[in-house]
């Protein structure tokens, strides 16, 4: 090859082609999505997150959860994610517009977490503020209409949506932060060992793993997450998740046992007179997990079991085309 000009031009040209094609054009196409709402401008989804959710996101990033857990549900005609009860519909670009960083993930050495918050026991089934008290109430619980959605308009990132979304946030005694925190102790107190509540089976029919273990808090409740993070193999002996004990503090019980102390089984339990309590980071990462919820319907994606959102979208594979969903005239997505 002679002459530098064609070489340089070619080197720049090929790369510019790829750069524009795979990053610039997609940004132009789906890089400016807005949240969706119904015709009154309420029931906004997704909502920006704040407080413990955001900090939990950093804990999630720092400890590399993304290297084993994906956060995306594939369509039912492609994969069996929905059949595994990992979600009620496929994930859409709009689900992630407030996530930073976004943890789509590339590996499933652990379960998909896109809807882990939606799988928490519903508030009426267990009185502790499991799902509702999490500061991140993207769509609140699956079945019940979110208490916040009717009254509060979209909240700016600064104003914590938790204030509106947790009516029973006053109950947990273990709150020092002012933010509604899922309190494991609460859960432990309400379900003393032995009886396994019916909540999980109602939430995850047919999902065979993990199995609700007797003597442990209801599956996917905040208390359960804490026990699972502290001692994964106490919940599932076959689990190969690392234990995140450094997120917990083992301390001598001063006076009364803390309400947020973990309810651990024999081999993992601290010696008598000691208790294991979550650090702030642990509470944040659990708040983050419980806020992961894509169960809210989106107009561009067909929900399994629910009515097709718009009915006019025969091609569910491409969701990016709708530029501004703020069109107020469109009918509200069918709420179950």
């Amino acid at each position: 090859m002679k002459g530098l000009a064609p070489l340089f031009l070619g080197i720049f040209g090929t790369f510019a082609f790829s750069w524009i094609g795979l990053t610039v054009i997609p940004t132009w196409q789906i890089g400016h999505l807005n949240p969706e709402s119904d015709e009154e401008g309420t029931d906004i989804y997704p909502r920006p997150q704040s407080g413990m959710f955001v900090r939990g996101e950093h804990v999630y990033a720092a400890n590399g959860c993304v290297y084993c857990h994906s956060q995306q549900v594939r369509a039912d005609y492609i994969a069996d994610d929905i059949e595994r009860k990992w979600g009620s519909r496929r994930s859409a670009p709009r689900d992630y517009i407030f996530e930073r960083p976004v943890f789509l993930g590339k590996m499933r050495m652990g379960q998909d977490l896109a809807n882990i918050g939606a799988r928490a026991p519903a508030p009426e089934e267990s009185p502790a503020p499991a799902g509702a008290a999490s500061p991140a109430t993207q769509g609140a619980a699956v079945s019940s209409p979110p208490p916040s959605s009717a009254s509060s308009p979209v909240t700016a990132p600064g104003t914590s949506p938790a204030s509106a979304a947790s009516p029973n946030a006053s109950t947990p005694p273990g709150q020092r932060t002012g933010v509604a925190s899922p309190s494991p102790g609460q859960m432990a107190n309400t379900t003393p060992g032995g009886s396994s509540p019916a909540a999980p089976s109602a939430q995850t029919p047919g999902a065979p793993w993990p199995i609700q273990t007797a003597g442990l808090p209801p599956m996917y409740s905040a208390a359960w997450h804490h026990v699972h993070l502290y001692a994964p193999r106490s919940i599932n002996p076959d689990s190969n998740m690392p234990a995140y004990r450094f997120l917990y503090e083992k301390r001598r019980i001063a006076g009364e046992r803390s309400a947020e102390a973990l309810q651990l089984s024999s081999s993992d339990a601290p010696p008598a007179g000691w208790e294991v309590v979550p650090t702030y980071d642990a509470r944040c990462v659990v708040a983050y997990l419980m806020g992961l919820n894509q169960s809210h319907p989106l107009k561009e994606v067909r929900s399994v079991g629910g009515a097709p959102a718009t009915g006019a979208a025969p091609a569910p594979a491409v969701q990016g085309a709708s530029p501004a969903p703020a069109a107020a005239g469109s009918p509200a997505a069918a709420k179950k």
Binding site: G64, F246, V318
Partner: protein
């Protein structure tokens, strides 16, 4: 006394050019000595660190209670630490060393201001060190392949500018009109990397793109780093080393031209195959799958070109360490690309997406293809910098076989395990834990492969250390893998 070749065939060039050319080469090599040795030394130090990290990561994956409970030793921090040490510590520095040396040789120009490049290498090392420390202390950005925090990116960028600018500027002082194939690839790599790195940093941190596009940018970056930075350096190196060692020109310039341009055009579009079935517009993924299939054109042309160059000279693989490693790398390029095409098809991808297959793919590219080629180039270049020949042919042989079997076993284990894991994952009748149970024995096999690779890296580091300390052989003939036979046939 042609110091470059195998005694079987003296390259025609050197016979004609005579002593002047030898002198000139020695002069150029001397000018690159400090920076290139510095690159290599730091690269090998990082290789050892990364290998140790890899072992812990591999064992922890199937034995999660190993070294558990300590924040900076948790699996989710060690894994990105290992990855970044290998990518930015080992592979980038080793590739840079080879590239700088090749550039000087091919431009027939002495390296100006070698200390400036050496300073860049120091900065780069500092950057990687801080970055890995930050990951272990929990300051990872959470973007795969770009876990280093922003402040580290600034250091790396300054370091890169110091290092690469002079490698590119050497072009100005080059002698001769012809620009050799290797120079196309190296020039491409040197210009693509900063653009790529800057684009990744800008679109993720400075002016962040929205939502899922962060993932698109991340995987666009990762695949381009693999192809346009590491891949381009490795292909350029192979185009130099193979003809050089066997003393015969490249079979076809024309094929090489096609190979280069199709490589630049298509491989840069392959990134989105990693996001197949994800929440993206379908055209992005389809475009990447199409591009991946089209990468068969550069694979075929480059592979054919190397094959036809080598034809009749394959017996030399018995003797020359450089040739053996380089040919292994060049062949792995084909394997890597073919597997890349196979797993990119939507029907296959829906099975192997989210499994160990993606790990196998990355290791094929970064190790079997890139690292083996660079090992080959180091066996060629280091003796020319320290003025000694490698001390033990047996150690080179051991290094080669441990590496070859290690990476082969690792790839097989991860591919087989990944496919079974994916098949179970896609079978809703089985519980999720079944897919993990299935892959665990293969992960143990992978740890075994890791032990082989660890052995090979320690052998190489020891051998390189001997060279560095001036303990190599003083000889006019290079160290061969099978010395006795080489000398007898050398008489022909």
């Amino acid at each position: 006394m042609n110091a470059t070749g195998i005694p079987l065939k003296d390259p025609a060039v050197s016979a004609a050019a005579g002593d002047m050319e030898q002198l000139e080469r020695a002069y150029i090599d001397a000018s690159t000595r400090v920076p290139v040795l510095m690159f290599y030394t730091s690269a090998i130090a990082w290789l050892i660190v990364g290998t140790i990290l890899a072992m812990v990561v591999s064992f922890k994956l199937h034995s999660p209670d190993l070294l558990s409970g300590i924040s900076f030793l948790t699996w989710g921090r060690l894994r990105p630490a290992h990855m970044n040490v290998m990518v930015y510590g080992w592979a980038s520095m080793a590739g840079m060393g080879t590239a700088v040396w090749l550039m000087a040789r091919l431009c027939r120009a002495t390296l100006r201001f070698p200390l400036l490049i050496a300073a860049g290498a120091v900065f780069w090392n500092v950057g990687v060190l801080i970055g890995v420390g930050a990951i272990l202390l929990g300051d990872s950005t959470g973007f795969q392949w770009l876990e280093f925090p922003r402040y580290v990116a600034v250091i790396l960028f300054v370091a890169y500018t110091l290092m690469a600018s002079w490698a590119v500027l050497m072009f100005r002082y080059r002698r001769g009109d012809q620009i050799y194939i290797t120079q196309w690839y190296l020039l491409g790599a040197f210009l693509w990397f900063p653009w790529l790195y800057a684009a990744g940093q800008l679109m993720l941190f400075v002016v962040p793109v929205q939502g899922v596009l962060q993932s698109a940018v991340t995987w666009w970056y990762a695949n381009n780093l693999l192809f346009l930075w590491f891949g381009a350096i490795a292909l350029g190196t192979a185009y130099y080393m193979i003809p050089k060692v066997i003393g015969r020109p490249v079979y076809s310039y024309h094929l090489a031209t096609i190979g280069f341009w199709t490589y630049a055009l298509f491989s840069s579009w392959t990134g989105m195959t990693r996001l197949v079935d994800g929440p993206f517009p379908a055209w992005m993924i389809t475009a990447s799958i199409a591009a991946t299939i089209l990468t068969m054109i550069p694979v075929a042309t480059v592979g054919l070109n190397h094959h036809l160059t080598m034809q009749g000279y394959f017996p030399l693989l018995r003797y020359s360490p450089t040739l053996r490693f380089t040919v292994f790398g060049a062949m792995s390029y084909t394997v890597f690309s073919v597997i890349g095409v196979l797993v990119s098809f939507r029907s296959v991808a829906s099975y192997v997406d989210f499994t160990q297959v993606s790990v196998a793919y990355s290791h094929l590219g970064l190790y079997a293809f890139f690292t083996m080629t660079i090992f080959g180039s180091m066996y060629y270049i280091v003796p020319r910098l320290v003025g000694r020949e490698w001390r033990y042919g047996s150690l080179i042989k051991l290094h080669f076989w441990a590496s070859a079997y290690g990476i082969g076993l690792m790839t097989l284990m991860l591919l087989a395990g990944g496919f079974l894991q994916g098949a179970n994952l896609e079978n809703p009748a089985l519980p999720f834990s079944e897919s993990i149970e299935t892959v665990l024995p293969y992960l143990r096999g992978r740890s075994l492969a890791g032990i082989l690779l660890t052995v090979s890296h320690f052998i190489f580091a020891y051998h390189f250390g001997l060279m560095l300390l001036g303990l190599g052989r003083t000889s006019t003939v290079p160290t061969f893998l099978n010395p006795v036979e080489a000398e007898t046939s050398g008489g022909h």
